[in-house]
Symmetry: C2
Subunit: 658 residues, 2 copies
């Protein structure tokens, strides 16, 4: 029983937005308006006042915003984090004796009641505020107190003074908060915009060498315009660190690698160094710096892949044996999923005898690359490292570098993926990769909306680990459909290329999602200039995304009715910008049907026409009303990405489209 007698009367409940009752910060982007709400109320009928207080996490001074009452004791106010990083907010409520007095004075004056005592009470309240006030406010309050209690004046004059707006405003500046109630403090984390809006391109540098030779970071620099011209924001490389030799894997995941096999980049570490070294086969740290700068020059950023696991040859294995689990025979525990064993990988043991040393050591990897100007990390399999570690790591790094973006590569159970996002990952891989039908896509977008306060999806139609069955069998149309869905449903998306744009669709064996001749194990060579390449379409798509704010957000999606289950229609709106996507989910047959445009919500009259401009094909249609006919064939572009323009009549009676 920890309640002590108090004169606090206000209670504060159900503050929103919060994650897990405030256990984790809410995510936003700088400049986003945070709409805060809470139930604030007290016993009885006296007037309550509530304010929102907020501040950047590094400062100590709260900024105060008055809250407005809505219905049912709900109050609202907003604030906009302008700086990156952690922001804090809380709610304070108290009994507003002066407002209560004003309310009573007004009613009693109207009813013609005696006001002598009322004036004395009001005088005392204003004088008390004057003692709290400073400067001109104090003088003004003293003046009003004097007027209210001035028996030489008429009753009407004194009432008028008591209800004067200037008095009301000045009193509000010097409230009596001695019995105020303060809520818990809640946190918001403000990212930079790229956390919310980004297009990723993943490539294996080793496949970018001339004539099938082992490619290098310099080769990527030489070819960087290929990626930049497609309009990607993030150039993401698998681990660039030295690759282990012990138990190295050969092509197609075989166990007998030859001397020339390049190995798996995720088997990190060799005599050449560990997580902070550059694989000599790829070049030097200077090459990496050049690539970093070449990306920046093209409005891209270089993202590195951090896989916190070691090959048996990693320096840590001898330097920090306590970071691994040792077996009774003196060997180190390799990765396994019994009875399968992955002897080229030693997992980190988070049950180590030295958690502080381990955590600090692992953080050193990120610190190293941050010092090298890397601002985006794709983290490999974060769900096999402890959650408290990630929360500590990301929070620590964000305290100093709030601009760092961590993408969680976890394809696992929902609660685990949610927890990683709550722990601080700025973006998360998703189940989009396996959501194909209209029902699957709609329900999945609903699922994601429910976790929007803490988890930012990043949609990938493929990855080096995953060639979805849809892509294996559905040809060029299938690749276009999945690309457009990813790039328009989610403001963050990425592809693993050039595999994707070149329609690479052969699985290692039927029924698996592993690529045949996967780049994970070997060098591939890609014909970037192939006629069938989707690069031109991707270029247009990324341009549309940059031009349309509606596509720079994710949870503004609105699925509308389609009378053909194979045709998915959704509207995305942001301010005046309206994009309507229509997708034929059937990559084998032409499909047609009637789709709904929510003209009422868009402010279009029932008998008013509007233009839909397919930004992919540059075709324009004049539509009218709620229902319009579409026909999409897998032989061409089986999708529409329509920009909707309202038809307006000018003062000179010329028609044009906004």
């Amino acid at each position: 029983m920890n309640i002590q007698p108090t004169t606090q009367r206000v209670v504060i409940e159900d503050v929103q937005p919060v994650v897990d009752a405030g256990r984790f910060p809410v995510k936003c982007v700088t400049g986003d308006r945070i709409d805060v709400e809470a139930d604030v109320f007290a016993d009885g009928h006296d007037v309550v006042t509530a304010v929102l207080e907020h501040r950047p996490g590094r400062t100590t001074k709260w900024t105060t915003v008055p809250m407005s009452p809505m219905v049912n004791d709900r109050w609202a106010a907003s604030f906009t984090p302008e700086a990156m990083g952690r922001h804090l907010f809380r709610i304070v409520g108290w009994m507003d004796a002066f407002a209560t007095w004003q309310h009573g004075l007004d009613k009693k004056a109207e009813a013609g009641l005696d006001l002598d005592v009322e004036f004395q009470i009001g005088h005392a309240l204003v004088k008390a505020a004057s003692r709290r006030a400073k400067g001109i406010d104090r003088a003004l309050l003293d003046e009003f107190a004097q007027t209210i209690s001035d028996t030489e004046l008429t009753r009407e004059e004194r009432v008028e003074a008591g209800l004067d707006d200037r008095l009301t405003q000045t009193m509000a500046r010097w409230p009596d908060r001695s019995s105020a109630t303060t809520s818990n403090v809640f946190a918001v984390f403000a990212d930079r915009e790229r956390a919310r809006f980004s297009a990723w391109y993943e490539l294996f540098p080793r496949s970018w060498g001339p004539d099938g030779s082992h490619g290098t970071l310099s080769d990527v620099v030489d070819n960087i315009d290929y990626v930049a011209d497609m309009g990607f924001d993030v150039l993401y490389l698998p681990p660039v660190s030295p690759i282990g030799h012990t138990k190295r894997k050969g092509p197609n995941n075989t166990l007998d690698a030859g001397p020339d096999d390049p190995g798996v980049p995720w088997a990190v570490g060799s005599a050449d160094g560990g997580h902070t070294a550059v694989n000599p086969a790829l070049g030097s740290i200077d090459d990496l710096r050049r690539l970093r700068d070449a990306a920046i020059e093209r409005n891209m950023e270089l993202a590195l892949d951090i896989a916190l696991q070691c090959s048996p040859d990693h320096p840590w294995v001898t330097e920090h044996p306590e970071w691994f689990r040792s077996r009774p025979d003196g060997s180190i525990q390799y990765a396994e999923n019994p009875p399968k064993r992955y002897e080229d990988i030693y997992p980190i043991d988070f049950e180590t005898s030295d958690p502080a040393g381990l955590w600090t050591g692992l953080k050193g990897v990120f610190d190293h690359w941050i010092a090298e100007g890397i601002r985006i990390f794709r983290v490999d399999n974060p769900h096999t490292k402890s959650f408290p570690f990630w929360e500590w790591l990301i929070t620590s790094i964000h305290e100093e570098h709030p601009d760092i973006i961590f993408l969680a590569e976890a394809f696992t159970r929902p609660r685990v993926m949610h927890r990683l996002a709550k722990a601080g990952f700025n973006q998360s891989y998703t189940y989009f990769t396996w959501r194909n039908t209209a029902w699957e896509l709609k329900t999945y977008m609903d699922d994601l909306a429910r976790t929007a306060t803490f988890m930012r999806p990043n949609f990938w139609p493929n990855t080096p680990d995953i060639l979805p069955t849809y892509l294996q069998s559905d040809g060029r149309a299938g690749f276009i459909v999945r690309l457009v869905l990813a790039a328009t449903l989610s403001s963050n998306y990425g592809i693993y290329g050039p595999s994707y744009e070149l329609l690479d669709n052969l699985p290692k064996t039927p029924g698996t999602e592993e690529y045949l001749d996967s780049e994970k194990y070997q060098i591939r060579s890609w014909d970037l200039a192939a006629d069938h390449s989707l690069a031109p379409l991707i270029t247009i798509l990324n341009r549309i995304r940059r031009e349309h704010p509606a596509l720079q957000h994710t949870h503004n999606v609105w699925f509308t009715h389609s009378d053909n289950e194979m045709i998915l229609c959704y509207v995305k709106q942001w301010d005046d910008d309206v994009v309507v996507c229509v997708v034929n989910l059937d990559p084998h047959h032409q499909q047609s049907g009637w789709i709904e445009i929510p003209i009422d919500a868009l402010g279009i009259g029932e008998h008013q026409s509007y233009q839909v401009h397919d930004a992919l094909t540059d075709r324009r249609y004049i539509w009218g009303g709620r229902h319009n006919y579409v026909e999409l064939s897998p032989d061409g572009i089986p999708v529409h990405v329509f920009v909707l323009r309202r038809h307006v009549r000018t003062e000179h009676d010329f028609d044009y489209y906004l």
Copy 2:
């Protein structure tokens, strides 16, 4: 940043049931099974174990219950508070290295892999547990450790030992919890059953005197069988304390009371004493004790009304002027709702300079009556006293007297009513009083279900303050409808009588809900033997409630389809007990229609007949199928309270009804 490096890997999220993330206890009744759930999981693929720990609040030793995994990392376990009062629970999860080892051993043995190191690991795990274990468990573990590592035995024998059920169970008794994660501690408050199932009867003793004289507590004793025979559990009296004389109200709330006017019981306190005294006009404390005992002899309890406000004549006004708000002219602030003033009432000032003294003083009122054997309090207008006070008061009293039931008489805004319930009130008045149509009743029952973890509704079709318009105009049928709705929808209900059963329906003025010649201000005399009295019907209704567990719960209501909006049909089920209520909500016209019986959910075949027995009228019908016809007239009993009996065939082929 308060995360420190740790070897904890398990996380625990979303524990249920909780109220406001654990800020308030969940309500239940002793013997209720509490189904606890939580998300419990860790990084990686090692096996996690979770347990529920619970204990009565007064003890320190936790009882441990293993949790079972369900889907999506959700775990479940239950416990049943047997004692009244506060119970605590929490969840503990940890990595189960031994179960992980067993899983691997099984798979590797099956795959024919070398097991030497596995046996060594298993031996070490079992020996470590043996060091934690005691007595026979230790010996057993040593034996198993020896067998697992015994190279003289066959591989199969050693594997079998490692997977032996007895070893599994014994290991589970001595887990390594050194890196366990423990959730917050959550509270449950277990009431006695009457908090969940009760029928209240409110009466003004002053109207129970012979021949219109001022009635006394002794008169109530003399007539107590009238109430007891109707089958009520709780006999509830308005405040029995002395009534103030200053500004005393006369009949129909007039301001000029005569010397013989008895005053308003809620204007508490006079020279005869305050909240702990008995109004001499009603008798003595001994009379009250006799009434208390007479009630108990008849399986009823006496409930007192505590109104924490004072008449100007209350001893506290002079003894504790700091408990009231003083005005600049030296007077004490009376109650007001500007411009209306209620000068017979001084509200308590919870912004007093001495909150500790005030709270302790107010608690003294409850302590006094508890010492007099009172176990149920109806608290008048709790929403005009501070919420922290109620939470402190009720929690303090429940710590010593967990059997005390507090009913919150708050008809106010939803959040305020919810907060009072969260603060500890065991029962709450509701908006039922104004919910008349089928839609209103259905949505209101849904609303109440959403707050079922903390708020227990008590349905009142009338109170001395409220004669709903429905009752003013709708005659005997209206009174029956509202009575049956209250008594069957909610397991707690009450009426203000004899006004109710005698169909007292005259408002003070048209359009108000105030009774004409309200007993709040004057003595009434009631013809208890009147032919039109509903007492016989109430007697049957209360008997049905006692006989049918389905009516002893509230949130088991299931509204079923009716093709006539004026006919409301709902099913209540508890174990084998099924009650079907059919109510003609139109008190002026006969209504008929087809109502749905959810035979599938009730385990009745489509072509199987069943009996519905109207327990109010003792009429029986044989029904079949989902849809059945009903016809209800306001001239008779416009409701059915059916007991549904399934038709079964015995082994001797006789039909009978369960």
